[in-house]
Amino acid sequence: MSSLDDKTMTFNCIDFRREKLADPRRLTEAAEEHLIACPACQAFSRRVNAGERMLQQTVAIDVPDGLAERILVGSRARTRSPLKLWALAASMVLSLGLGVQYWHTAPDRERVALAVEHVMHEPEALMSTRLIEPQRVSQVLESFGAEVKVPMTAVRYVKLCPVPGGTGWHIVFDTPKGPATLLLLPQKDERVRTITASHRGMGVHVEAGGQGMVAVVAGDTDLAREAAGMLHQHVSWAPSAALTVNERGVRPRS
C-alpha cells in the first residue's frame, strides 16, 4: 500500500483489488480515491484493464449472417401459422410427392398447395439477406416471358428449381410487410385460372403468365394479393394464358 492516510486505511489494496476484479468498469468512489493514491493498485488496474480488453474481444464471437432475419422470419411464420416445424417438414416431403403426382390432373387447389409446399421445402430461401442484382432478376423474369417495366431491387433469392413439368424459378422479394415468394412455373397445355387462396396458413395468388404459371406466396391471402399487386408494378406478362408446348421457345436459364 503506498499511502497510509485515513482513506487508504479504511479502504486498502485488498478491497480495491476485490472490487476491481468483480466489476472493473464500476468502481466505487472509495476505490477511485484509493486508485489515485496507490501506484501498486494503478499497475494492477492497468493489468486488469488489459485483460478486460482481451476478454471482451474473446467473448464477442462472430454472429452468423442473417441471424436476426431468420428469427424474424421464424416469428412471422409462427404468428401466421401455428404448425410445428416437424409437421411442416413431414408435410413438405409428403406434399412434394403428391404435388408431382397431381400437378397435371388437378388444377387450382393443387397448384396452390404445391406452391406453398415448395416454399416450405426451401425455408432457407426466406432467410437470405443477400440482395440480387436487379439486372439479373430482370433477365430471369424476361427468360420466363415477362416484360420488365421497373427492375425489382429488393430481391433476396433467385434459384432455378426442379418442379413438375420441368424447371421453374424460385424468387424471394421484399414487400413492405415482409418477404414474399414468386414462383415461375412452366405449364404444358393447361390454362391457368387466376385464384387467390390459402393453404397451411399461407396465402397464394396464382395467375397465368409467361411460360406458364406465376404464383406469389406470402403470409396470408391479403399479403399474397398485395405482393402480386406490387409485382405487377414491376412486370407484366403476356396477355394470353399459358403458352402451348409449341409456343414455348425460351427456357429458364440457370
Binding site: R18, A22, Q57, I61
Partner: protein, 169 residues
C-alpha cells in the same frame, strides 16, 4: 392483420438490437453454434408470446437473457453441468506460460465452470452490474461478485502462469 404494428415493430427492433449478444451469450453457454442459434430462436419465440407484458423496456435485454438461460437449462436439463461453485484451487485451467492469444483466451474462458463463465460473459458482453447479473442469475449480488472475482483470478493466473490465489498480493 393479427399483429399490432407497434408491437411487431418493437419486437423487430429488439431482435435486431439484442440477437447478436444473445447469440454470443448462448454460444458461451453451450459452445455450439447450431444449439446457440436454436436457443436464440426459441428465446425470441417465447418472448414474442409475452411481448405485451413488457413493462420496462430498459430491462428487455436482461429479460431475454433470462429466457436464454432457461431455455439452455431446459435443453440440457438431464445433463449435469458444473453448476456447483468450486474452489479456485480446483479449477482445471491450462496455465500456459506463453503469452495467451485470443484463441487461447477462448479456450481458457470455455474451460471455466459455468458458474464462473456465465457472469463473466454477461458482464463482458452486456456491461451488466453485479446487481443486474444477480437478478438474472437469481442469486445474490455478493455471490456474483465472488464468482466474477474468482473468474478473473483464474484467467489472470493462466495469463501469468501463477497459481490462482484467493487474495491478490
Amino acid at each position: 392483420m393479427i399483429l399490432g404494428f407497434s408491437k411487431r415493430k418493437s419486437f423487430e427492433q429488439a431482435v435486431r438490437a439484442f440477437s447478436p449478444d444473445l447469440y454470443r451469450f448462448a454460444w458461451w453457454l453451450c459452445r455450439d453454434k447450431f444449439v446457440a442459434e436454436d436457443l436464440v430462436q426459441e428465446t425470441f419465440a417465447r418472448a414474442w408470446k409475452s411481448w405485451d407484458d413488457i413493462k420496462d423496456s430498459a430491462a428487455t435485454k436482461s429479460w431475454l437473457i433470462t429466457i436464454v438461460r432457461r431455455e439452455h437449462a431446459r435443453l440440457y436439463e438431464r445433463k449435469q453441468f458444473d453448476y456447483v461453485d468450486v474452489e479456485l484451487e480446483d479449477l482445471q485451467i491450462a496455465a500456459d506460460h506463453e503469452p495467451i492469444e485470443l484463441f487461447e483466451m477462448e479456450n481458457l474462458l470455455g474451460s471455466l465452470p459455468l458458474t464462473l463463465r456465465e457472469p463473466l460473459v454477461l458482464q463482458a458482453l452486456g456491461g451488466f452490474s453485479c446487481a443486474e447479473i444477480a437478478d438474472m442469475l437469481d442469486t445474490t449480488e455478493g455471490a456474483v461478485m465472488t464468482r466474477l472475482t474468482r473468474a478473473r483470478q483464474a484467467l489472470r493466473s493462466a495469463l501469468t502462469g501463477q497459481p490462482a490465489r484467493r487474495a491478490e498480493s
